[in-house]
Symmetry: C2
Subunit: 895 residues, 2 copies
């Protein structure tokens, strides 16, 4: 027997059900499911997604058996409607159909719908006879020609609309509904001549030709540019294909006892449990969304400002409304989720055209999930899986008031979420001055940021850069700070000198108000109101459930007590990464840091470090205090030293003066620190090998702070000292040895001891490949691992995240890479190394080897799933991502 | 029974043999072996290397049983000499001994020898009585004190030498031998008071104390700084330890029927088969090397300019000489290798003190190996393993005349071997001008080189840089060109402006003569004569044998027909890497290249590329012609485009003028190409994804050249098109697709077809980890792999070879890394990835997947062994390394 490609759905024969989304598409499966539930659904059939696959694998041709199967399915549809005696392609009593696409996942951008298919110059007469309504019939006919010509024949709708407008002008009427039969009749002619003019062919008269044309258009639209774009953005595979649904028409436009509408079983924006929807009397589906007439509320609860004077469905067609209510309740308890339904009332009788899980805001998603648990509709685990972690992220940040108008002047990368307004400034010093002295809100606009800009970023509301990717300095730091950031906005031409911003020829001056939407990547001129979401009881309830389920711990990347506090409030279970160098950029410290870097001898360097010691100790003390009872992973100095030196000539001059050396000497020293590839240069543990005194100072500061805390408050800090950029176990052994000596010295000086561990970041392929030796107690002796996936991705791909923005766009466009590899863990490459390292490490040290991740990807849901799958102990992410990670970790367990 | 630590060697009881080098050290094993051969060797015993290990693992203490064992061994030695009735520590008839160190591998830098141990103020009388020679006795005594004080007690020899000189002055004599008994007697006293003065202790009188002191000194010297340095440089493990040899003294200084000497069984500098040696009458061992008296030739064949007036041993002591000849022949046929022997003649009787495989020059090594095969002493395989591949490298390059004087002013890295002289210039343009216009020989001196310097490097005799490591640009390019290079010579302070070179305060001007020894890394002021070695018949014979044995093919990295020709002469079996970008730097091409880079549109870029096409085609044509019948792997454009742009302001200005754009616009464009980490930036296949037109031009040039060759000469080229820097199979698929289209177009235009393959470099960890997908015919479809171990090492370690020089020194010093990881393949990390990739690739495509290596390490013997072990098909190296690689590949098979 040959393969089956067509599935009927009807009251008598229904060949599919709701579980067959991959085969029948979402729409087809739901129609079959509703049919199985014996709901009033017009009969029809679904051409499966396998036909789409066949179509593209065979030079856009169909399987041989398809014609026969479609014919049989049409016949079956006619049988379902036997009492009406309608037949497809019958001139006397024509069965008209709708043709709709329906992929396994919702896919905007494809061909959507053709209604009233089957009409032609003969069958229009039949329709008039059957409906006794010539106006309705001709209105259906002209709608059909318009839709079909647009989506199947590719004739732009505007031609038809113009003709329609002209006709209304001719007739002196305003609304489509006011056109009489003759006008509609002549419009049908005009429309057909438009088709002939633009396609060179007459409009197809044969209903079968019409049907096959529409089917072909659906399959053809699967790979149209808009659909491709949508799939690319949403990571949907091209392989899944779309199905085609052919369904008997029912009419909402047969008179005033007819209507069409959409409804949600709960409020999709708040999640409140109320039935909510809109409808139009005497209309077909597309009229509701077209916005020509204001839709009416279906009930009291659906009344709003714009529809408050219109009668509700409950009042207008009370019996149909009653049926609708019974039906929505049946649907919700069947699907156990909030439904988005489409219905049509034909001559007072209710028909269901579609049901699907309704889209909802993050707030609604949470409320509905929690409510449904309380209503015992679903269990907690289902509730957890109902909320998407990335949606949650929006909820944690302010967003633009959805009602406000916005003048979007450019789009960049959505580098760090949230929405903020402020005056634009181009210099971090100016930013600081304006904020501190004038109490202004500012947005720092830079070509790209560097560690020298930190103080400006710190005071700014948001950060906007012209260059750099999702993991550029600006993006990473902004996310860490929980600040809104739009990065890599190529349309900006920034002049630091003139203090202006040129966007497509329009010049903006320093001080002008801008608004950034970091969730969307939008740059908006002017000030736009924002709304701050509140974390509801439902949110906390859902989070508690997630915590009960998840196996992965969630820590935070935090460098300051403030960050630590926020993160702890959001549920962080420790610090997974404290970047000590961020403590070095404070203006009063940077001087000592620079003295340290420019020291000519170990002695001189030690003197400069002595000045830094009490400051670092103070930082750690506060951090330990904030995080007491929880582990705090502190990474020793990582960036190359030249990052701490000034680059501008005037700053160099002032530093030279301050240090009492010649500018030339200073420049020479700076130059000697210059590197071709600083990312692969003298940084990380390499600094610890070259200048043990730096790490010794840092370790001393950590342990002194912990000892002090214990003495003063008897609270116990849990420092985990993390050595960055290890490539070989010997580096770790060398550094561990002198660190332990220093720690012993502190213990004996302070006469108190605290627990501590020493471990390493795994951020180089070689570290992953030799993780057994790195963990081995007799060799590297790492007591814990933390994957630094930013660097690991860079070295595994040989790809600089600072430089890749310039060509990754092309890569994604040409489909060479599906997305920027820095966003989610690349499981094939980076993930393989992570797995090798984890297995190696655990083989040597057993399951007690603590393994985590502290790269940017630690807050990415997809990556969290992967981390769970290879058995990590924890993920660490920026404070604002902590709830996202908690939820994603729970979902990973449930998957 | 407790472990055995002491092994006697004597005619009656000999407990070791020559195979026990690890246990007894080289010297001890050879003494035992000679004893087993019944050669006249003074008896003694060896304290094994295990004692050394025990010593360092147990706070410098000995195993408990050692005292007893040593006593027993001394007793055994006395029994061996029963007829003499000598006893150790006997005042009347003292048995004196020598104490020598002896590690499993030859180890300069350790304590060497103490002779005459056992003498004190009592036994000296016994010695006089027995020898009837007071002068000899006192001379032995003062020698013993001097040596012992130096090496065991740490008293500087100079104090004793001063006293000796003073005594000779006092006595009005010139030679030591002229001092009379009383003088020697008083010297002994003086020597002892020197010891007391400098150590605060009296010189040990008890022979047992003396013995244990000497043994302790040997073990102590195992970890002295000189020995540590030697081990580090030569990659010898500290774990192996040293043995101590205690042996009965025989005396070459008991009168004129006594002598001591050294000999080689063949000429160590030419390899000629002639017995060759020197001796001194009435002398002890150290006198021969001390150079106080001119040593005499042992026979006619050993006569040279300085000793031609001295009588030979053959004449002076004919019977002993006859014994020596018999003995050397016996030794050589026993050891089947050229021997370096030490002998002593006491009262006309010959004793052997040592034999070992003699050190020899590369030329001698080859000749001896080949001769011995012809003499049927050894087989071909043994001959192959007798020549060290790195020695061979010297043989292929000119070297400094060993007799010439040289004023070494600085040392750098031996970046590319050979020895050359030339006038120093600091600018590649000047270099070109001087060579072309004035026919001068120049040495190009640069702080570091960049691709812009290529034309200057090309004409220079040698290259000298102040910065950069063994794999810096200068080093890599120089090796590729076969040019001498000393790199990373930190002592040089170069002023481009003043055109001077400052070395430790001494200023050298442009135009002064310098000589570089690239094999040693020496920078020499002035002109030093060089000698060009000739490749002998033995060399070719040995190479042929190597070729019969080896499994790995050897290709060359060559960018020009000249390189290709040299390499083919040296036996290259194809080109493993032709870097197409090197063809771009030619002055007449760089202009088109720059137009291409600065093009605003694809169209403009294509126009510039059209100019390059015929030039590249011409290059390939010549290359194919040179290499016909052999495969030629051509890598498409790899470096980031900004490498081709000028950096100097004046060059920018002239380019702007030439291109008819403003300097500002040009600068802006150049800046926009700037990258933070160009190594991880927009290069390699990423260029091919962004600008397909570039690779299309290159592929067209390659295939057109091959087609043209076929048409004109019917010779078949075997181009292998190599795509660099692949990280994912999709990159390769994308590029392969358009390359194949282009190739098809060429075939149809030219109406001829040629064979070709398309493959990839594996130079990123991700490529190695996903090599299965990269090779899979339905995915990446790579037909061959070539490991780019330079980049692979960089990314695996996260280490830039351009920047690492600044800290790798510290790493090696602190023993964190044993050596620069760019020199030999790091088997733990990089090697693991290579193995993964090879296994992955072969699993998908079977053994026919061609896998090679084309990084710098392809010419490194250690790395070649590794490549053999994981089953690569070929290695590729610079032309001058080809013979080295052939030999190393053969040795890998034999190992």
């Amino acid at each position: 027997m040959s393969k089956k490609y067509v599935y009927s759905f009807g009251q008598r024969k229904c060949e599919g059900d709701g579980s067959q989304k991959m085969l029948l598409g979402g729409k087809g499966a739901n129609l079959a499911e509703m049919m199985q539930m014996k709901l009033p659904v017009p009969p029809g059939f679904t051409i499966s997604t396998e036909v789409c696959t066949h179509y593209y694998q065979n030079k856009k041709s169909y399987p041989e058996s398809l014609t026969t199967e479609v014919k049989a399915a049409v016949k079956q549809m006619e049988e379902e409607l036997a009492e009406t005696k309608m037949k497809f392609s019958d001139a006397k009593n024509p069965l008209l159909v709708s043709v709709r696409s329906g992929a396994p996942v919702s896919m905007p951008g494809m061909m959507d719908t053709v209604l009233n298919l089957g009409l032609n110059d003969q069958s229009i007469q039949g329709l008039i006879e059957q409906s006794k309504d010539p106006r309705f019939s001709y209105d259906s006919y002209r709608r059909f020609i318009m839709m079909y010509s647009d989506v199947v024949l590719g004739v732009n709708t505007s031609f038809f609309e113009t003709a329609l407008e002209e006709k209304k002008l001719d007739m002196g009427v305003e609304l489509d509904t006011e056109l009489d039969v003759d006008s509609l009749k002549s419009l049908v002619k005009t429309f057909k001549s438009i088709v002939l003019e633009h396609t060179g062919k007459v409009f197809p008269e044969d209903p079968w030709d019409q049907l096959w044309g529409a089917v072909g258009a659906v399959f053809g639209s699967w790979k149209n540019p808009r659909a491709n774009t949508y799939r690319r953005i949403n990571g949907i595979s091209e392989e899944i294909g779309t199905a085609v649904n052919v369904q008997a028409m029912v009419y909402g436009n047969m008179g005033d006892d007819c209507a069409t509408g959409v409804a949600f079983t709960r409020d999709p924006s708040t999640g409140e449990k109320k039935f909510f929807g809109e409808f139009l009397i005497n209309a077909q589906g597309e009229d509701v969304v077209a916005g020509i007439r204001t839709p009416q509320p279906i009930n009291q609860e659906s009344i709003n400002d714009s529809n408050k004077d219109l009668p509700t469905l409950e009042k207008t067609l009370p019996s149909a409304y009653k049926d609708l209510v019974a039906l929505y309740q049946k649907l919700e308890s069947h699907y156990k989720d909030m439904q988005d339904i489409e219905f049509t009332i034909q001559k007072g009788k209710l028909f269901m055209l579609q049901t699907r899980n309704g889209k909802r805001t993050a707030a609604a998603a949470i409320k509905i999930a929690v409510d449904m648990v309380n209503e015992k509709l679903i269990d907690k685990k289902t509730a957890i899986s109902r909320v998407s972690p990335s949606q949650l992220d929006q909820l944690l940040h302010p967003r633009l008031d959805p009602k406000a108008k916005k003048d979007i002047i450019a789009k960049g990368l959505p580098a760090s979420p949230g929405a903020v307004s402020g005056k634009i400034v181009f210099d971090p010093d100016v930013a600081e001055k304006w904020v501190k002295e004038k109490n202004e809100k500012v947005i720092l606009v830079r070509i790209e940021t560097s560690p020298e800009d930190i103080h400006g970023m710190h005071v700014a509301e948001g950060i906007l850069t012209a260059r750099g990717g999702m993991t550029s300095h600006a993006a990473v730091v902004a996310r860490g700070m929980g600040k809104t950031c739009v990065a890599g906005c190529g349309a900006l031409k920034i002049s630091y000198e003139k203090k202006t911003l040129d966007v497509g020829g329009k010049i903006y001056q320093e001080g002008e108000w801008f608004t950034l939407d970091g969730t969307q990547g939008e740059v908006i001129a002017g000030k736009v109101e924002t709304v701050t979401p509140e974390l509801t009881g439902s949110f906390h309830e859902l989070m508690t459930w997630a915590d009960e389920v998840r196996k992965l711990k969630v820590r935070t990347n935090a460098d300051t007590p403030t960050d630590a506090k926020i993160a702890r409030k959001f549920g962080a279970e420790g610090i997974g990464l404290c970047r000590t160098e961020h403590m070095f950029f404070d203006p009063e410290r940077i001087e000592a840091v620079r003295h340290m870097i420019l020291a000519d001898s170990t002695k001189e360097r030690e003197n400069a470090l002595k000045k830094l010691l009490p400051m670092q100790r103070g930082d750690f003390y506060q951090l330990f205090q904030e995080m007491q009872g929880l582990p705090v992973t502190i990474r020793l100095l990582d960036p190359p030293l030249h990052e701490f030196l000034p680059h501008k000539k005037e700053d160099m001059a002032s530093l030279a003066k301050e240090m009492d050396v010649s500018l030339e000497a200073l420049q020479r020293r700076t130059e000697s620190l210059h590197e071709f590839n600083p990312m692969l240069g003298h940084r990380g543990c390499r600094l610890g090998v070259s200048f043990p005194e730096i790490y010794k100072m840092q370790v001393r500061a950590i342990v002194e702070a912990a000892c002090e805390l214990k003495k003063k408050t008897s609270a116990v800090a849990e420092p985990e000292i993390m050595i960055p950029l290890i490539s070989d176990w010997k580096e770790l052994q060398y550094i561990r040895n002198y660190c332990e000596e220093e720690i012993k010295a502190v213990f004996s000086e302070m006469k108190v001891e605290v627990p501590y561990t020493i471990g390493t970041m795994i951020e180089l392929p070689r570290a992953a490949l030799t993780a057994d030796k790195i963990t081995d107690p007799t060799l590297g002796n790492a007591e814990f691992f933390s994957f630094g996936t930013n660097d690991l991705t860079q070295t595994t791909y040989g790809l600089s995240r600072d430089d890749s923005a310039s060509f990754l766009g092309t890569y994604v466009e040409k489909k060479v890479f599906p997305t920027d590899p820095f966003v989610s863990i690349d499981t094939d490459g980076v993930g393989t190394l992570m797995k090798i390292a984890t297995d190696h490490g655990r083989k040597v040290r057993g399951p007690k080897l603590k393994v985590g991740i502290c790269g940017e990807q630690g807050g990415d849901p997809k990556s969290i799933h992967f981390c769970h799958s290879i058995g990590l102990d924890y993920v660490s992410c920026s404070p604002f991502r902590v709830p996202v990670a908690r939820l994603a970790a729970a979902q990973a367990t449930l998957k």
